[in-house]
């Protein structure tokens, strides 16, 4: 699973999950960008085509330091990505977005484990 995180908000939350030794599948790798609203839908498609089973966006949500409307913008990006996946015949359930705050260690680990389980049901 590929996780998109953000440098200032969700990546510190994911770091904290590690510092707290909260385990999840080592098939989960994290790619950090400045802001959720800067993620290209094409990157999501690229990841799924390259062999990732799922893409999880650990979003800034309302905590974004750049954009007051980051949640609305990232929701639009996900909608665009879903359309893109649909045209490619990829199951939309392989993409998931949840806001992860800078101290959301436990919620992150929980969400990622649940997403791993649901991807397992979908198969490769």
């Amino acid at each position: 699973m590929l996780v998109f995180s953000t440098n200032l908000i969700s990546d510190p939350g994911i770091d904290l999950a590690g510092s707290s030794h909260l385990h999840y599948d080592p098939g989960v790798v994290v790619l950090s960008v400045p802001c959720t609203s800067g993620i290209k839908p094409a990157w999501i498609l690229h990841a799924l085509r390259e062999g990732f089973d799922g893409v999880f966006i650990a979003a800034d949500g309302d905590e974004c330091g750049y954009l007051a409307d980051c949640s609305a913008r990232s929701a639009r990006l996900v909608a665009t990505a879903q359309e893109l996946l649909a045209t490619e015949g990829i199951d939309g359930r392989r993409l998931k977005m949840t806001a992860i705050c800078s101290v959301c260690a436990e919620p992150f680990a929980r969400q990622v484990r649940a997403f791993c389980d649901s991807l397992e049901e979908l198969g490769s």
């Binding site: 030794h21 385990h23 080592p26 790619l31 290209k40 690229h46 750049y66």
Partner: protein, 573 residues
Amino acid sequence: MTAPQPRRRRIGVYVCHCGGNISDYVDVGRVVEAVREEDDVVVAREAMFTCSEATQREIVEDIAAEELDGLVVASCSPKLHQTTFREVARRGGLNPYLYSQVNIREQCSWTHTDDRAGATEKAIRLVRAGIAKTRLSAPLEPLNVTTTRRALVVGGGVAGMRSAVALADVGIEVVLVEREDHLGGAVAGLGEMFPNQVRGDELAARLIAEIEQREAITVRTRSVLREKRGTYGNYEVAVETAGKVSRVAVGQIIVATGFVSYTPELGEYGYGMPGVVTLEEFDRLLAKSSGPLRAGGREVSSVAYLYCVGSRNEENPACSRYCCSAAVHASILAARRQPSLRQFHLHRDLRTYGRNELAFRESRRLGSLYLRFGDDDAPRISAEGEQVRVIVRDQLAAGEELALSVDLLVLVTGMRPRSNDELVNTLKLPVGRDGFFNEIHPKLRPVETIVDGVSICGACQGPKTAAEAVTSGLAAAAHAAAVLKRGVAELDPEVAIVRAEACSGCGECVSACPFAAIALLDGASPRARVDASACKGCGACVPVCPEDAIDLQGYRDVQLRAMITAMAGEVAP
């Protein structure tokens, strides 16, 4: 279309044991052997501590000896050492942006302490992604801009005033803007304050006198900030005074707009009834009178304080941190004026931290009684003739229910954020979930905001005592002075760039940018252009471009795709 083959690079990769923090859970030797085979990797080493002086020196030597043009360090989170290794690259004569940090500690070894094989394989994928990013990295130069040696301070309370004085004393001009018709802020309305018994009004008067002595400070009362334009270090702000707008050039902006005291709803713990006041109102009563206490034309012989009104509840879960000490202190002042006064403190917890604990002891010596009620067992308030009746179940007296009849009930209210939408919009200030303004980092960058050139200080950041507000005011002054005294400012070069030949001039990016950093250049066919000094590097313009003509430096499309491909690749068993 086939992409042009990038030229061969010479990349050095260093994988850290971090003592055992990484190597106890990841086979570092195997990671090094695996990535050594990657294209363009000419040096691959492991180190006990890559951040140690010895390894830093080794990297610097490798850069020269192996003619490296790219550097990857796989160790801890970039939050810890990205700056360290960018500096190592610079010392080795390599552009700092040709360096990539790979996080194999927080996001690998520490997460997978239960799966050595899985963690090792993941580390290999992560390092490969770092190599892929570095392979496509380009040198970036921070943009240098000359700054205007003048600061704007918004808010003339103690934090803003002390900040202005400090700036003037290091030779920086200050424009101090205050909405009210006088300086002083909340502190100017206070009598004796804890912990050192100085009156608030005297404290404010002393700072006002200091300001009057300094020619470098221009005070603009009855004024508000209406507009901010320009770029980092060189802003033009519009200040409106009594309907007239004037423009001022400033290099840094400090926001010190303070707080508002929580005003309870009518009926909340009897608020609105005769004999029920807030802590702010009680403080004013103490400040503006002397001798035996009188309220509403009547003598006061008993007072109850009800703590945490408007704080630590569902609507506002935070503690306002100053109010316990302020209420305890108020009760000491009242007891000294009127030793026969009976005083009851009804609290959930009492947080008289640090030296304020001594005041708590003093208040008890002077006769204050403390009663503790449960979180879900709030005291009940009703009118009883001219008095206020308070029924409380005291946990410290085995849960016994007590009925008190007092002349005055003080609701100990805390600090709330001031609602100031215009200022927030004008400066794009980051507002936290609690409504106060957010700093970048509470410990390491406690007064800077994510908006370059704009610092915050005082109680607009959250509840603070006067001493804490002044301390942060001085921190903001130090930060602003550090930028302005240097005369030039360095801007982060990881900004958006437009490939002009691909741009159709549709303007989607212009409206997507909240910082007004993108404009359409006029011409036969308009093209988008990014003002690097106004761009914050969020990348929000990147996905909205229908022509894929925008990239964010450091996160270019080719880099992200290459990283994703590298991470998805198989790892040989």
